[in-house]
């Protein structure tokens, strides 16, 4: 078999798999709609404001409500040291 046939065949298979991924993503999003709606209902019922993603520090647990400079005021001369702080960044309201 020609090398180009092997290459083009394997590229076509991978491209088809990529199309299947797009299809899978669309179907999974449809299937997850009720679960997402239940999560949204939990947010509404409990009055939540944040995703529970970074629980190592209070200002990263509740990103939307954090003080603008809370990472630096846990104690005098405190420097931001939680790994999540470098991922999460300051709230969007900073500087407004």
């Amino acid at each position: 078999m020609r090398k180009s046939s092997i290459f083009l065949g394997s590229a076509a298979i991978m491209a088809a798999l990529l199309c299947l991924c797009l299809l899978h993503a669309a179907r999974a999003a449809d299937a997850a709609r009720p679960a997402v709606a239940r999560r949204a209902a939990t947010v509404k019922a409990l009055g939540l404001t944040d995703l529970c993603l970074f629980t190592d520090a209070s200002y990263t647990r509740h990103l939307a409500l954090a003080d603008l400079h809370s990472p630096l005021q846990e104690h005098p001369l405190c420097l931001e040291h939680f790994p999540a702080g470098s991922l999460a960044g300051p709230p969007a309201t900073l500087g407004r």
Partner: protein
């Protein structure tokens, strides 16, 4: 058409044979390239899925949250403030919200204590988030002792555990009655953590926030749009997370493309010289190198993207989990809903394949336009 296709396939055959002649070097190149695409695509898929989840789930977050600041720090807000806020036009309701943190030194984990706005548990009972229940190793009906602010212990019965599917928003929650919350935290009656306002008209929220600042100068308001903007920024391309995840991958790619663009190895230059000496046109040589570049970059792009999809959506982003968890002891167990579209995939293709193709073709063009004798002697 048939002749054109046959010509392209013949050149592709030659290009693949040429790549296989340097199989060790090209395998390493393909592995690195695939790794770079994998990292970029994983970060893109992960962030896009998190951003969509935040947008959908937090669409029902409180309209406006009012916090009180004392000396620049968040402080308890008098419940009486709610009455004053109800008088502002556009505010349908203002309710005090009770929440705070409870650090468990034995497990080194901070839990979020909260009194639900609606349907709080009965006094003496507690409802746990999934991760909190796992960490506390408890179950429905068991007793859960919690250390109160005055050193005493308050024992609550676990009424139920929140469904696993809510972990992304409620993993670390301990939901209590108001009486239990006040007894444990010491927050006196008449004070609350913050106030939650219902302002149904979205266009009025800015005006309401301005009036709150005028009416209660020691407070600040966080609107629902601020909450959504925060998550959009955190999971956006310019967020800190992307910088951390992508900086390494991008630098690797820049070095890699620069290495290609800065000149061809002597072996490849000699090969070009020989091809030209045996009668290949400059355009044929460039076409050969385009096919070589396309074979490498297309394989790396497709393999890297497929691996990234499996990594993020079938294996829950295992490689990024350590970065995301940081020092967290409590972590939600969740499966992200895939959120990718053809636009994202095209962006990834343009970002990863085009720079490499350009970096391959330019030095080839330079080498192919030089006299073959000069190339072979150099």
């Amino acid at each position: 058409m048939g002749a054109w296709t046959e010509r392209q396939r013949s050149i592709l055959d030659f290009a693949l044979s040429s790549l296989l002649r340097r199989s060790g070097k090209n395998a390493a190149l393909l592995a690195v390239y695939t790794g770079v695409v994998f990292l970029l695509a994983s970060a893109m898929f992960l962030l896009s899925a998190l951003r969509r989840e935040a947008t959908l789930v937090l669409a029902d977050a409180p309209d406006v949250v009012v916090q009180r600041l004392v000396a620049g720090r968040m402080d308890l807000v008098p419940v009486a403030y709610a009455e004053r806020l109800r008088g502002i036009r556009g505010v349908r309701s203002a309710r005090p919200r009770l929440w705070g943190y409870h650090y468990d030194p034995a497990r080194k984990a901070p839990f979020t204590l909260m009194v639900p706005l609606d349907g709080a548990p009965q006094e003496g009972t507690v409802v746990l988030g999934g991760a909190a229940a796992r960490l506390k190793r408890t179950a429905v009906g068991r007793q859960l002792p919690l250390r109160a602010h005055d050193g005493s212990t308050r024992t609550l019965e676990v009424a139920w555990i929140l469904a696993a599917e809510s972990e992304l928003v409620a993993a670390d929650l301990l939901l209590l009655s108001e009486a239990d919350f006040r007894a444990i935290t010491g927050i006196p009656a008449g004070s609350a953590t913050d106030l939650v306002l219902a302002v149904p008209n979205e266009r009025e929220r800015g005006t309401v926030a301005a009036k709150i600042a005028q009416e209660l100068p020691d407070t600040r308001s966080v609107q629902r749009e601020d909450v959504l903007r925060t998550y959009d920024a955190v999971f956006g391309w310019r967020g800190g997370m992307v910088t951390v995840l992508l900086a390494g991958a991008l630098f690797a790619f820049v070095i890699f493309a620069w290495d290609r663009a800065s000149g061809l190895p002597a072996e490849e230059r000699r090969e070009i010289g020989i091809l030209k000496a045996v009668g290949w046109e400059t355009s044929d040589v460039i076409l050969l190198k385009v096919w070589e570049g396309a074979a490498v970059s297309l394989t790396a792009f497709l393999a890297g993207t497929l691996l990234a999809y499996a990594h993020v959506f079938f294996f829950a982003g295992t490689l990024f989990a350590r970065v995301m968890k940081g020092w967290s002891v409590l972590y939600p167990d969740f499966r992200l809903v895939p959120a990718i579209d053809p636009y994202q995939v095209t962006t990834l293709l343009v970002l990863t394949v085009l720079p490499y193709a350009a970096a391959t073709v330019l030095p080839t063009w330079r080498a192919a336009t030089v006299d073959p004798d000069a190339i072979m002697r150099s």
